[in-house]
Amino acid sequence: MISQEPTYEQLVTRVSELTAKLQESSEIIDSIRRGEVDAFIVQNNGKNEIYTLRSADKAYRLFIEKMNQGAVTIGANGVVLYANSSFASLADFPLEQVLGQLFINLVPQSHRRQVIQLIDAAWQNQESRGEISLPGTGGGAVPVSLYLNQLELDGGTALSIIATDMSLQREAQEQKREMEKKDEFITIASHELKTPVTSIKGYIQLLQFGFQQEGNMHAATLLGKVDAQINKLTVLISELLDTRKIENGQLPFHFDHFDLCLLLDEIVEETGRVLKQRLVVEERRPGLILYGDRNKIGQVITNFIDNAGKYSARDTEIIVRIREADGILALSVKDFGIGIPKEQQTKIFDRFFRVTGKKENTYSGLGLGLYISAEIIRRHQGKIGVESEEGKGSEFYFELPVHPAEIKSASA
């Protein structure tokens, strides 16, 4: 018989083949260890067999383990089969004591009867909901909403219980109620302040009218000054109310078509009477019909003119211009007053911001007017801005989009 013993060369080749395979296996094991392999495909009798290295439900387990809500599964006998750490924290038990425990024992005595009813209801009706308190780990009882649902598992039926900590929702509800109370207060306060102002203003105007009829122009002029002060008071009341509404996103707008030049004429007549400067309308655009809140746009123009008057010297000019080009309308109010330092120009539209200079005490106001104006222009999809040089004056402007249909000729 001829010997089948391998030759020395064959053995060397075999050893190097086995070494290579071993090397390959070792590399695969390293890859698995490093988490780089999710699954193997192994050929067995010509078929591919897939071996995954991760359990398909691991992701869900992790998700449930990490979620903020408490999650518990109980068996038909009421024993906890599974609980996440959020539930253990809500119940203020170590997680290892929760598992295998009767669920009812994890609930404070005062809520046990209610929870038993919830469990019975879930077994009978597939699901149930309720609210209880759990001790939590923060010291105070935590309001918790429970949602119980029947689960069909391989080994029979179970109940899943989701426990949601309602403290944040409660806090948010409380804050909302508090805010509504404040809003109601501001609305009522504003109404109550405006009512006597209406009476005072009404009587003053009647007196002024009477004196004018009699030809007593001195008395009428003095009463006109009282009326102007009442108007300032009204603006302050409105500004406080508007600021509150902007904070809540509730500033009401009433959009309609209006003639911007007619509005400007009314404002110029009204503010011109009390200004110590010369108010000049240099450029107009008659017949320009805008779609917006007429009163609110008027409020912005009045605010620009009031500010120009407040921060510039007597007998200087305040120039108003309305221009329109490429579908954009621009209204500007230019004064030759104290101007605004560069570093303050970006903050000028912030709430409670007031220009401070050497004579800051001489300027009145709450620092709300431009803040409100900016919000009004923003809500009209426009742009508000200022160009100013300290010591030379300021030019405040707003730009609003004009649609072709809104431009009508004055003669039309």
């Binding site: 009476s199 009401p252 009163n295």
Partner: protein, 124 residues
Amino acid sequence: MHEPRKIFVADDDPDILEIIRLILQTRGYHVETSSNADELFLCLKEDLPELILMDIWMAGADGRDICSRLKKNLLTAGIPVVFVSANSHIAAITETCHADGFIAKPFEMKILLQTVQDHLRAAS
């Protein structure tokens, strides 16, 4: 000589009623006032006004309800209703109640007169 035009004013504040009455009388309007809703409806049974000026919040009455009632009644639906109020939602309320206009308090005398004139002209 024309009959003076009749305007009805409802407000629960007697000073404001007085002021509006005095302002409207400077133009020779005939003004009737009421501080509550019952009086208003009583007056409406007797003689219809050409214009109604009304507050929104009144003691024991809500101008919104009154306006809705007026607008639903065939006899009064044609009378213009103008809200005169310090309510900050006056524009929106005017729209939802199908009122014909509004005057925000505190008001300028000439705005009150102009608004009244506009509505009377539109109604006649």
